[in-house]
């Protein structure tokens, strides 16, 4: 029996715990004890069985910092804005992570988007696995690569400043300085729960792509009873949502729209549109993607993966940098179009092109064909085997 600690520091919603849950369950089934250190205990409460897993509050920068770096050109700027701005405060969080590690005595540490937790593990002999989509594991370069290749001005100086503060904090732990900021991500294994084509950082050298983790749950898709080509949309409220819904209404095709917030009000407003159906509960993604002809979303990794594995093209409306990077990859594949400006006319034209031009569907089908033999249900066992290999190699 080994003790495994899974850490989640940055990001929101359920995705991070959802990704680690099947891995933890596989480890638990093999007799290991898994604990979670999570940014939001609510995610653990929603997803984890408290009989099998304990969770702890992760230390994180919960308030805005006084001197954020804008725009955030690289992951280094994200780190700065998430608490690497002050070496003293960072040291406080490093001590807190270290104290949790000392309390939990892990034999293996697993990190999902947790740079401070990984920094705190520097100098420890405990083996580490870092996992995530491409975004949470930036390529090991110095400086860290720009999110958008053409926007790289000043990133060397910025990272130098951040690295200096990081090293000041590390000195407080008696840990040798990092020569490159990217070294904080060093682990015995990097596990990419994505596809090479969907890596946020294109052109990454050798990486171990495992495909997306299983996406369970959701209600059965309830399609409007009108003839036409089905479109599934997974959306959050955003400023030009109304014109988009107007486009959907006019198109007349049966549309199922999962709105994570405000579904009730929108449903009332579009009561006269028989082709629009709104869900306030998450919809079973795999099934919705299989039954639809087009998927519209904000470029979340899970929805994109489900759509492409089902061979369906995408209209992408990214709301942040992470989503924007991913939407570009889908556009490069030819399996979708991105409308990052969220302009009504742009969204409308791209929607019409995606419905009219078969090339997008063909590209999506090509993707699905390439990964026809992918068995995402085998990922947890594969992960548990990897964990046990690392545990065995570190055993005294």
């Amino acid at each position: 029996m080994a003790k495994v600690v899974m850490c989640w520091e940055l990001g929101g919603d359920l995705g991070h715990v959802a990704r680690m849950k099947p891995l933890a369950e596989a480890l638990h089934a093999r007799g290991h004890r898994v604990s979670f250190i999570v940014r939001e205990p609510l995610s653990a409460e929603r997803l984890l069985d408290p009989q099998r897993f304990r969770w702890f509050q992760a230390p994180y920068q919960s308030e805005g910092i006084p001197n954020p770096i804008r725009p955030t050109l690289t992951m280094a700027a994200v780190m700065h804005n998430c608490g690497f701005n002050s070496s003293r405060a960072l040291l406080g969080r490093l001590h807190a992570w270290r104290n949790l590690y000392a309390l939990l005595k892990p034999d293996l540490l697993v990190f999902d988007h947790s740079p401070t937790a990984m920094l705190a593990a520097q100098g420890l002999k405990t083996p580490r696995i870092v996992l995530g989509t491409g975004f949470g594991i930036p390529p090991s370069t110095s400086p860290l690569p720009p999110f958008e290749p053409h926007k790289a001005e000043g990133i060397v100086e910025m990272e130098d400043g951040i690295r200096a503060r990081v090293n000041e904090a590390l000195a407080g732990l008696d840990v040798p300085p990092l020569t490159r900021l990217a070294d904080l991500y060093r682990a015995q294994a990097d596990v990419f729960f994505t596809f090479k084509e969907l890596d946020h950082y294109p052109g990454r050298e050798a990486a171990d792509y495992w495909g997306p983790t299983r996406q369970d749950g959701g209600v059965v898709p309830a399609w409007p009873a009108v003839p036409g080509r089905r479109v599934f949309a997974y959306l959050k409220p955003f400023k030009t949502l109304e014109p988009l819904l107007e486009t959907f209404k006019q198109a007349g095709h049966p549309m199922l729209i999962y709105l994570s917030k405000g579904a009730e009000a929108v449903r009332k407003k579009y009561a006269d549109a028989p082709n629009l159906s709104f869900s306030d509960k998450p919809v079973e993604l795999k099934r919705a993607a299989t039954e639809a002809e087009l998927v519209v979303c904000h470029s979340g990794h899970g929805t994109i993966s489900a759509a492409l594995l089902a061979g369906k093209p995408l209209l992408l409306l990214p709301l942040n940098m992470e989503q924007r990077m991913l939407s570009l990859r889908v556009a490069e594949l030819g399996a979708g179009l991105a409308a990052p400006a969220l302009a009504p006319e742009g969204m409308r034209q791209k929607f019409q092109r995606l419905m009219a031009e078969p090339a997008f569907t063909a590209a999506a089908r090509g993707f699905a064909e390439r990964y026809r033999d992918l068995r995402v249900e085998e990922i947890p066992e594969r992960f548990a085997a990897l964990a046990e290999r690392l545990l065995a190699s570190e055993a005294p």
Binding site: S35, E40, P41, L42, A44, E45, R46, P50, R54, W55, F56, Q57, A58, P59, Q61, S62, E63, G83, S86, R88, A89, L90, L91, G92, R93, H95, A96, R98, N99, L100, Y101, A102, L103, L104, K105, D107, G123, L124, K125, T126, L173, D174
Partner: protein
């Protein structure tokens, strides 16, 4: 596997299985003590908890901190050797609502939803399972108290009056000057109670008959004066231990010459430049300690106005001044009153508004919540010229003769020993 530094000493070598144990040398009870802080901001919770903890550490107890802000804790606890863990807490409290009662405060913070509360209570339980505390010292930590219900952990609630509600129902209206409909407050209290009991039910903890029981079933260590406790009229048979001394040690450097001595302390506010400009003209001598006052304000220094850059010895300040003007500072207010000196308070949030109301009721000062130049200067003038304010402050101080800086720590240690002896 993990280097010694940063390792909680008790995690490495602790008394067996969390039981209170007798030390071989003198029969002293040695225990694991968890100091918890969940709600609030700044250093006002951390610093007192550390002052209370130090003698426990020195006595050989195994102390850990579980705190809302581990970054601030580094400034306070760094180098103390006391391990610190992050408190499960609601880091996105709902704002923009006028709160009228303790249950409403809970509903906007720790008790924001039953699912979230349950998630956090479980996280507290995870800490308890590994740290195995014998004693929980909770400063504004309702979820920590809920998680400890039905366990063998003895609980102390500490802090000023505001963070320790009385065990009464209904809980008092806090804004007596502009009260809410009592039915609204009753609904809030019922909702908070139902939420706590919902969590208690699913986690198989003893249910609460009243919300106040969450606090009432713990032993109080009330670090305030009766006259500064907004709940004083609702409590019975409770001891007031006074406040802990501040950490400063520098001697106050008053402007030389004639004139009454005014100590100004706290956070900047919009009319501060005008207030300082007026005070710089005299006739009083004003000493300002406001770390956030910018350089443009410091230029106003002159024969009647000086700025202090470091924390001062508050005993020396209170004994040498005639009056203090403060935006915040429960401890400083208490220190002033115990030195028999009146205050002018410039409250900007509920907790301080209540302290200011208490001070006015005691007759030992005035409140200027509008923060206007004329009001502040007018009230300062009255407090300095009308004898009654100083008289009332002196009468208050006389009621606490025998209380000194050591009183709270001494009483706390005695309480800890008593509770541990019972386990």
């Amino acid at each position: 596997m993990i280097p010694e530094r940063g390792v909680p000493h008790h995690a490495a070598r602790a008394p067996q299985s969390g039981r209170v144990s007798l030390r071989a040398d003198g029969g002293l009870l040695v225990a694991r003590v968890l100091m918890a802080w969940e709600l609030g901001a700044g250093y006002g919770h951390l610093a007192p908890l550390l002052t209370l903890a130090r003698p426990l550490v020195a006595a050989g107890h195994h102390v850990s901190f579980v705190v809302r802000d581990v970054a601030s804790a580094e400034a306070v606890l760094g180098g103390s050797g006391i391990p610190c863990y992050p408190a499960p807490a609601n880091f996105s409290p709902s704002g923009g609502v006028t709160l009228h009662s303790f249950p409403q405060i809970l509903l906007s913070t720790a008790f924001n939803s039953e699912d979230e509360l349950r998630a956090r209570v479980r996280a507290w339980q995870s800490l308890y399972a590994l740290l195995e505390p014998d004693l929980l010292v909770a400063d504004h930590a309702p979820s920590a108290l809920l998680a400890a219900r039905g366990t063998r952990i003895r609980c102390i609630v500490t802090g000023n009056g505001f963070v320790i509600p009385p065990d009464v129902t209904p809980m008092p209206e806090l804004r007596s000057w502009k009260p809410e409909d009592p039915a609204v407050l009753e609904r809030a209290e019922n909702r908070a109670l139902d939420m706590a009991n919902g969590v208690a039910r699913s986690l198989k903890l003893p249910r609460l008959d009243r919300l106040g029981q969450l606090y009432g079933s713990a032993s109080p260590a009330l670090l305030t004066l009766r006259e500064l406790d907004n709940y004083a009229d609702s409590r019975q048979g409770v001891e007031y231990w006074g406040t802990l001394p501040g950490p400063g040690s520098a001697a106050p450097q008053w402007p030389t010459g004639e004139g009454k001595r005014v100590f100004m302390y706290g956070q900047p506010y919009p009319s501060l430049p005008d207030v300082l400009t007026a005070l710089a003209r005299g006739p009083h001598r004003t000493l300002v300690y406001m770390p956030k006052a910018g350089p443009e304000l410091r230029k106003l220094a002159g024969p009647h106005l000086a700025f202090a850059d470091v924390l001062m010895d508050m005993r020396a300040v209170t004994h040498s001044c005639d009056c203090a003007v403060m935006t915040n500072g429960h401890g400083t207010t208490s220190a002033m009153l115990l030195a028999g000196k009146p205050v002018v308070l410039l409250p900007q949030h509920l907790e301080m508004l209540l302290i200011a109301q208490c001070v006015e009721q005691a007759g030992a000062g005035l409140s200027a919540p509008a923060l206007k130049l004329e009001g502040i200067l007018g009230k300062l003038g009255r407090v300095l010229s009308e004898e009654s304010f100083t008289t009332k402050a002196r009468e208050l101080a006389a009621r606490y003769v025998g209380m000194d800086d050591e009183t709270p720590v001494r009483n706390f240690q005695a309480l800890v020993q008593r509770l541990l002896a019972e386990t």
